[in-house]
Symmetry: C2
Subunit: 317 residues, 2 copies
């Protein structure tokens, strides 16, 4: 049984590193910090390495101890969380590759099983929800601090309990945390609702540029590198922009493309009911979930738009 094997690896390791995907969201950071707290209960110290993350998450217990890098070159054990493939670990890839043993725990359907031990449940709405199950199996006490980290991840990846992967267990676990005194509403506000000023300014641009296409079934909008610079956008400041189009009545797919520092375009797609956007992004070397996926292009934004629209048109009803 993988869960027992994972526990065994943790028990024999001394130097443990916890890693997650680039541009980390609440589920990535929340699961990393919850894992560190769980390891502590198991008598293990560990390093969480995340090179950069939005200051909106700095309220999470343990966030101050997150390291940007480490002088340790060879950990006994690396645990990658919420990351579908090795490349998305970015600078964490090195720590993962050089570790003696590699575990990865994730919920992406497109997971490439890149660890020695892989605990992957694509049916789970959040990596943090997988951890709840694991921790309960291990008899770990989910206290207020750990609960705060876990529910931050759950709220992020269920879109505030809105996505259809949200389970009865998600709601029951949240009820338990509320009874334990976790301030769910405050966490919700911080991870889901709060917009930085930069994010607000980018929202304005995204809405002003929104094109409603294909009989109102598709939206397209974009942010250039210049927009991001001008508004002082940092990591995390582009969150939520792709959802704006999808939430308009009748829209099935929203496309949001963002020019990155190297001039490439990162495309984010969301669907409303039936289009599998992970399939579409896969065609362009990307991936993700059925209703939320992404891919990267080297072409101009006009070409990106055309390429994506061409594929989306084929599957629109």
């Amino acid at each position: 049984m993988t869960l027992d094997d994972i526990l065994n690896e943790i028990q024999i390791a001394e130097k443990i590193v916890i890693l997650t995907h680039e541009a980390p969201d609440g589920d990535a950071i929340g699961s990393s910090l919850a894992m560190k707290l769980a390891l502590k209960q198991l008598g293990k110290t560990s390093d969480v390495i995340i090179p950069e993350f939005s200051r909106l998450f700095s309220f999470l217990p343990g966030a101050q101890e997150i390291m940007q890098e480490s002088s340790i070159k060879e950990y006994d054990l690396a645990i990658a969380l919420d990351c579908g493939d090795l490349k998305r670990l970015k600078s964490g890839e090195e720590y993962f590759e050089t570790a003696k043993r590699k575990i990865q725990i994730d919920h992406h359907g497109s997971n490439t099983m890149f660890g020695d031990l892989n605990f992957v449940n694509p049916a789970s709405p959040a990596c943090c929800e997988i951890l709840v199950e694991m921790f309960e199996y291990y008899g770990i006490n989910i206290d207020k601090e750990m609960g705060t980290c876990l529910v931050a991840g759950i709220i992020t990846d269920t879109g505030g309990f809105r996505y259809n992967k949200t389970t009865a267990e998600t709601f029951e676990f949240t009820a338990q945390l509320l009874r334990k005194g976790v301030n769910v509403s405050d966490i919700y506000k911080r991870v889901q609702d709060t917009k930085t000023r930069a994010n607000f300014e980018l929202t304005k641009l995204v809405i002003d540029r929104m094109e409603i296409l294909e009989d109102g079934k598709v939206t397209f909008t974009y942010i250039t590198q210049e927009d991001s610079k001008k508004n002082g956008a940092e990591v995390g400041d582009h969150e939520g922009l792709v959802e704006i189009g999808r939430d308009i009545e009748g829209v099935e797919v929203s496309i949001f493309i963002r020019e990155k520092e190297d001039g490439t375009y990162k495309a984010s797609l969301r669907s409303s009911t039936y289009v599998n956007v992970a399939d579409i992004c896969l065609m362009f070397g990307g991936g993700g979930h059925q209703m939320a996926a992404g891919c990267t292009f080297k072409e101009s934004k006009e070409v990106v738009k055309e390429k994506l629209l061409n594929e989306i048109k084929k599957v629109l009803k």
Copy 2:
């Protein structure tokens, strides 16, 4: 005990009418339709009278049977739901006043106790959540249809499980409904996320006009009657506009004012953590909840802005 008295009134009545507040939201409509279904289980037919409501709610079970008015002039029993005072029943006021017996069930702190029997719980996050408690006490079976109406109200009034009044019971009840097959995610999307095209266009205006004041602690924005007309705005199309300002990092109070057909301005206020906006609105003849309240002005929008800002400044930290 009020609950037994209410049941007694229902049992002896023949002609029953269900009423709710003007500009009805998901909690108003959801509680009305759930009540009708509950009365049916108690062997009673009833009329739900709601003169107009957003088409986004027409998916709710029983929405097709909602009446705009009734030829019955004197009901045996009127049940007002989710309505803090008689005036907010608008055209429903007449049916309420002429009914032989009057019951009202509500969760507004400012409730004026205008019924013969009043079941008011200001601690409850939604009128629908009060109904869950009532129906369970009466031994009524909360099936998929009734559950759909109830969770629509709960999602609306908890802002999709985000507000701090959301209880452990709210999450547990939602878990139960999920297990019964209620499509919570679909209801969430319909009542909370979906923006009509008119709402999207108004969002654009509201964001473009957003003023960020008082060191970033207050926002002000507005919609004129001309904006509403030009975009074909209907009942419900102004929902969510006031929250846009509040969600910007550092903002404590957001003000959104909207010109109505008669030229008056309806002000909506939201607060983030400590300002009691119900108190402020009360000064201008309005009311509501601590973090969400409203009032109406006959002055110009510049004067409204100044009056509200003056009061808000006094309580800003």
